[in-house]
């Protein structure tokens, strides 16, 4: 009887508990998952043996992030890490990345996604160091980094040949040179965020449109110096689904009519595109029949006519429509809008 009890306990410990732990652990946040390692040596051994649990390192908003990252990467279980987020982490700089390059080279060979959003101490030097370690990188995000220059992008394109998703939002020193580098090196690019990259001009943007024909998502938020010369060329992006043109004060109906050729558009932000009138919006309505998200915030030149056109083609798909400040539209109360777009849930995009 005693032997049976011991055997039961053994099965419980060595088979049942690990099985349950494996299921439970896939649903746990990083911190909790790692806490499980401290329960018992058996749990530790079992969890470590499941590689799928250790593909992500999350250091978002943590202090001493540089030191923490180095500590994490020196653990064998992170040898195949695919995703690292340092979004708004503090105390990480070029030196840390240099250390990682010299000590942890192997650990980053499978890295696919690197988020350095808000890591303002990192400069081109750090970008060079880290990108030289992760040649398989697909997603690179470095939002709000004012030290990054075209030099950094040069290192990125030299090291990482498989990028499909780039976020340069807020990297205000990047110029057309960076756009040229992106265009020349990433023909398969799917997503590009250039929010507030104010040095960029029509010429750089056009390069991207011509060479990155698979773009699905393009964010040009708060970029007011582009003109129709560039906007018209957006028409070649036949896979485009998401387009943010907030603040595109030079965009005319001509430009918008060209953009209408991107029939797959699902999300379009025209906040403060003050030159646009019914003509441009109707062109969009007639062509982009899957539109779900549209902002016309602040555009005084549009009237009820464009809403009728939109309703004809997108009544079944539109769930977000912002027409605040569109004084040319007379019937734009909540009820008015619901009559035209019965599935509307969100009436405000821009604040």
């Amino acid at each position: 009887m005693e032997g049976e009890g011991e055997e039961q306990t053994s099965i419980w410990n060595k088979e049942t508990v690990p099985k349950v732990m494996k299921i439970v652990s896939t649903r746990l946040a990083q911190r909790d998952l790692i806490s499980l390692l401290l329960l018992s040596p058996w749990i530790h051994r079992t969890l470590i043996s499941y590689p799928s649990l250790w593909l992500s390192i999350d250091l978002r908003e943590m202090n001493n992030a540089g030191g923490r990252l180095i500590a994490a990467l020196s653990l064998p279980r992170y040898q195949h890490v695919k995703q690292i987020s340092l979004e708004f982490a503090q105390d990480i700089d070029d030196d840390h990345l240099e250390v990682i390059k010299s000590k942890c080279l192997g650990s980053l060979q499978d890295l696919e996604s690197l988020n350095l959003n808000g890591c303002q101490k990192i400069s081109d030097k750090g970008i060079e160091a880290i990108t030289s370690c992760c040649l398989k990188l697909k997603v690179f995000s470095i939002y709000w980094n004012v030290r990054a220059t075209d030099e950094g992008v040069k290192h990125l394109v030299k090291n990482c040949k498989y990028i499909v998703d780039l976020n340069f939002s807020g990297c205000k020193h990047l110029s057309d040179k960076s756009l040229q580098l992106v265009a020349d090196n990433y023909p398969e690019l799917e997503s590009l965020n250039l929010t507030r990259c104010v040095k960029m001009t029509d010429s750089g943007l056009q390069q991207v449109f011509v060479k990155c024909s698979f773009l699905q998502s393009l964010n040009l938020y708060a970029l007011s110096s582009f003109t129709d010369e560039a906007y018209k060329k957006i028409s070649v992006l036949s896979h485009l689904k998401f387009l943010d043109l907030c603040g595109a004060q030079n965009l005319s109906d001509d430009g918008l009519s060209c953009i209408a050729k991107c029939k797959k558009l699902v999300s379009l932000n025209l906040t403060w595109c003050v030159r646009v009138t019914d003509v441009g919006v109707i062109a969009i309505a007639e062509s982009c029949t899957s539109l779900e998200f549209l902002s016309l915030f602040g555009i005084v030149g549009v009237t009820d006519k464009c809403l009728e056109a939109l309703s004809k083609s997108c009544a079944n798909t539109m769930t977000t429509l912002d027409v605040n400040g569109c004084i040319g539209i007379k019937r734009r109360s909540r009820d008015d809008l619901l009559k035209l777009f019965p599935y509307l849930r969100c009436f405000k995009v821009h604040s």
């Binding site: 410990n13 508990v17 990083q30 790692i34 329960l39 018992s40 040596p41 500590a71």
Partner: protein, 134 residues
């Protein structure tokens, strides 16, 4: 009569008042949902850890782990109360300790780590835990 440490007063759900040093009571909110007994235990925990971290008490990491292990040798109800209070007061390290203990109890897991082995695992994973607070 200059005092170098600021004191804070805490009032519990059963109207007991505790006076503690500010360093010990890092988060003073929501104490009204915690009973006097539990708060008393929590303050013991915080004092111990703050003092050991600040070098005010001469205690080795191993001795601290043993102290922690004894600290959570309580009945299920008390353990649950400690978890709720630690969560409420956002005392991360105490929450870790009590949750691990609870999981071990629920899943009937024997913690057969040696102190050295456990310390090693703790050390190599220190990076994953917030170092702010106790």
């Amino acid at each position: 009569m200059g005092s170098t440490s600021t004191k804070i007063k805490l009032r519990t759900s059963d109207q007991k008042v505790f006076e503690v040093e500010k360093a010990v009571a890092v988060h003073v909110i929501h104490v009204h949902s915690v009973s006097g007994d539990i708060l008393s235990k929590i303050l013991d925990y915080c004092k111990k850890h703050v003092n050991s971290a600040a070098g005010k008490e001469d205690i080795s990491p191993e001795e601290l782990y043993e102290w922690d292990a004894n600290f959570v040798k309580v009945d299920q109800n008390t353990l649950f109360d400690l978890i709720l209070a630690a969560n409420c007061l956002k005392i991360e390290s105490l929450l870790d300790l009590t949750c691990q203990t609870e999981i071990r109890t629920t899943f009937n897991i024997k913690n057969d780590y040696t102190i050295e082995a456990e310390e090693a695992v703790r050390r190599e994973n220190k990076w994953a835990f917030d170092m702010l607070g106790v």
